[in-house]
Amino acid sequence: MKKNTLVMLGGFIIAGAIVFLLMAATPGSSGIELTMKQLLATQGQHKDDFVTVEGLLIEKSIKWNPDKIQLKFDVKDNDGNIMHVVHNGIKPDNFSEGVITILQGSPTTKDTFKAETVKTRCPSKYEGKDMKDYDPKKHEKLLNQPPHEK
């Protein structure tokens, strides 16, 4: 019986170690998830935080600098708030008007979000896509056009 208890005790120590590991790792690697509205309202408070925020992409605003590999674009939410985003990286694959972008990074300056990662989530990733704005010419145009329009 004694050994049994001791083994159990050892088990608790391991379990305790894992819980400790969890507690220790949580603060350092956590960030917060805000809606754009919240973020814009409380930007100052979150300067040092790692923030996840979602917004709808405004396609016209995309500026792509191939030499610096820097991507600038704006996102909006459904209330019409607009936020500028800077990302030192490339364009994700389905980067088109209205796509939901998941941004992670820090809101360094007013209205500008410095994104470390930019991911996209098509609002209908598994639900097909609307055909009404499909334009067969678009592919051609896309090919012959530089991604930065302005």
């Binding site: 949580t26 690697s29 805000l34 590999i69």
Partner: protein, 660 residues
């Protein structure tokens, strides 16, 4: 067709309810006729689900766009294979697939030779039938696969190009087989508890089924990772996304169960623990589905938001509460006649540690996954924990698990003496230490990587010794040639050596993970035509930018020539594919793979003047990930293969009941 297809669903629902009722009635009145009728219901149910599946296949294959599902996921010029596999591209279809697998498993259990005449069957089937009722209900009222549109569109919306990849054909199927598979051990466990019967037979059968489910779950995760690696163009394979976690958690707990059940088999210990693991694994599959389909968490994978997740949550709640009730009410019975630990250095205790680590790992994943929800409820802000959290927490846990895995085979059951420890561990320990010193000398400086590879070296040696000693002992008696001896040895102990093979597979995967996580190099550059990018000892010459047409897809590709140490490796074409019907391109990466490392080239953007932006990555040891996965498959198949083997599943010997 519309009537027929829908009829299969609703008749299925009616049949499932009928079979469930008649089965439980048969059990309680001990009426064999009623139970047989319920079994007949299982066949009919299988036929229904099969017909529903075929109907949807037919509709998809023949592009009948008047159906919403067909319109949403296919288009007429899609290759036939993707038309058909669009069946599991959306909510309703994937649930239909799930239901079909459930009925398939039910058939297999009801009419398997091993289970013939076993009084557990009615109980097992009843529990699975309750699941079937739930799924048919969902198909009939929440996520309907056969919805007609008001107007017949001329063309469908097409399948998301990201899903047009061989990996996506098979990944959902295997994952669902794994998910559904875990409801089988759950049903077995519940049946055993209800019948107050927990004998050898129960354990053997449950173990088999769990291995099968486990194998499919592993495959599902592996295929998913591979798809992400080749298709998504970010050079990774696992992102600790909620959806990935959802399938990783049951995998961990099922792995824990597979090991701790061995102790129960030998020592009659840990019975409550085992049952709890089964319940948890099963609940986690439902919880995972809830996470995936409800959209409560921010995920790149998310299915369309719907209230579907809620139904899963409710169903999971009911299942767990009932399972716990059964467990509690049988608690005294299970508790009786449990064995005890006799030593710290024994297989038992190493299994226990392994279990704690696995469950701890699962809990850590769970914690990280639901943390945003918890913090939102408690503090009002969604606090997210990202990849660094998971890496920080999981790496030490999984590394210690590797260590236990390395040590365990050489520990004796009951107790290991000092002498036995010294004999068994001296050599492996020396090899591992030498390996670690070598690594440091050769210039590896990352502590985690060195320790990790040291543990893997230890594992390889101890497992090699297991095979070596087994063969040696056998040859002493039989004088067979070594290969024959190895063959006969392993075939006689399928589960054991199959398990070792799986361990080796995991070791290979870990090698790949450690290598690719610690030593990957990435560069991102925009270069002009004719210029080149250098990374490590590779040089990538950018020769040409061009476009071509494949079917309705337009492809822009860059032609690059790759040199390694000045030697030409060949010419490759990373592409961007503009799929017809989709505005946005998707990347087709060029991967140059070797045992040592993968060179991963993505064409990410291009300009009018021919300049192009490439992402180039060197991912060390990636191939080992896939090699290890392959070994896992071989190992688990080997373990469950129903050949002539010594541990024949014992005939049922428990309590007799009148119905079977």
């Amino acid at each position: 067709m519309y009537l027929f297809a829908n009829a299969t669903i609703y008749i299925g629902l009616a049949l499932a309810i009928y079979s469930l009722l008649i089965m439980t009635l048969g059990i309680s009145t001990k009426n064999q006729k009623l139970v047989n009728s319920g079994k007949g219901g299982v066949i009919a149910l299988f036929v229904c689900a099969g017909l529903a599946m075929s109907s949807l296949f037919y509709l998809l294959g023949s592009s009948q766009f008047q159906y919403e599902y067909v319109r949403d996921y296919t288009s007429s010029e899609l290759p036939v294979i993707y038309k058909l596999t669009a069946l599991w591209a959306g909510n309703a279809g994937s649930l239909l697939l799930w239901t079909f697998f459930l009925t398939l498993y039910m058939m297999m259990i009801t009419f398997s030779r091993k289970m013939n005449g076993n009084p557990m069957i009615p109980y097992i089937i009843s529990i699975l039938l309750a699941n079937a009722v739930f799924f048919f209900f969902i198909l009939g009222f929440v996520a309907k696969p056969f919805l007609l549109l008001d107007q017949i569109p001329t063309e469908g919306k097409g399948l998301n190009p990201m899903l047009q990849n061989p990996g996506m054909i098979i990944h959902p199927v295997t994952l669902y087989l794994g998910y559904v598979g875990l409801s089988v051990p759950f049903a077995f466990a519940m049946a055993a508890l209800i019948m107050k019967n927990m004998d050898d037979f129960w354990i053997k059968m449950t173990r088999r089924w769990t291995i099968i489910a486990w194998l499919f779950l592993s495959l599902g995760n592996i295929f998913g990772g591979q798809w992400a690696y080749v298709e998504l163009g970010w050079g990774g394979y696992w992102a600790w996304d909620p959806v990935e976690n959802a399938s990783f958690m049951p995998w961990l707990t099922a792995t824990a169960f597979l090991h701790s059940v061995m102790i129960q088999e030998r020592k009659n210990m840990l019975k409550v623990w085992n049952i709890s693991l089964i319940i948890i694994s099963y609940a986690l599959t439902l919880f995972g589905t809830f996470l995936v389909r409800s959209g409560v968490l921010t995920s790149v994978h998310a299915f369309a938001n719907s209230n579907l997740g809620l139904y899963f949550l409710i169903f999971m709640g009911i299942a767990v509460i009932m399972a716990l009730y059964v467990l509690m009410s049988r608690y005294n019975l299970i508790k009786r006649s449990a064995g005890e630990f006799t030593s710290f250095a024994s297989k038992e205790s190493s299994f226990l540690i392994n279990n704690l680590l696995l469950v701890g790992a699962a809990f850590a994943v769970f914690w990280g996954t639901i943390f945003p929800l918890v913090s939102e409820a408690v503090r009002g802000t969604k606090v997210t924990v990202g990849t660094p959290f998971f890496n920080k927490v999981e790496a030490p846990i999984l590394l210690s698990m590797m260590f236990v895995m390395a040590v365990c085979p050489l520990l004796a059951w009951q107790r290991s003496t000092i002498k036995n420890l010294r004999e068994n561990f001296l050599l492996p320990a020396i090899v591992a230490v030498i390996a670690m010193i070598l690594m440091v000398v050769l210039g590896m400086t990352k502590a985690w990587a060195v320790i990790g590879y040291g543990v893997i070296a230890l594992l390889l040696v101890t497992h090699y010794l297991e095979f070596y000693r087994g063969v040696k002992a056998r040859r002493k008696m039989t004088k067979e040639n070594p290969l024959l001896a190895l063959y006969r040895l392993t075939v006689k102990n399928r589960r054991r050596y199959g398990g070792y093979l799986v361990h080796l597979g995991i070791a290979c995967i870990t090698m790949g993970i450690i290598g690719s996580q610690n030593y990957d190099v990435q560069t991102m550059k925009t270069i002009e035509l004719g210029k080149s990018i250098e990374i490590n000892n590779y040089r990538i010459n950018y020769d040409k930018l061009d476009q071509k047409k494949e079917g309705i897809n337009d492809i822009v590709y860059a032609q690059v020539t790759v040199f390694k140490d000045g030697k030409r490796l060949g010419s490759y074409e990373p592409e961007k594919v503009f799929y017809g019907h989709w505005d946005q391109p998707s990347s087709e990466v060029a991967i140059i793979s070797s045992f040592k490392e993968d060179l991963y080239i993505v064409l990410s953007a291009w300009e009018d003047d021919g300049r192009a932006t490439f992402i180039v990555k060197v991912n060390p040891m990636m191939s080992w990930l896939w090699i290890g996965s392959f070994m896992i498959v071989i190992g688990s198949l080997f373990a469950v293969w129903n050949g002539r083997y010594q541990n024949v599943t014992p005939r049922y010997t428990g309590v007799r009941r009148e119905v079977f």
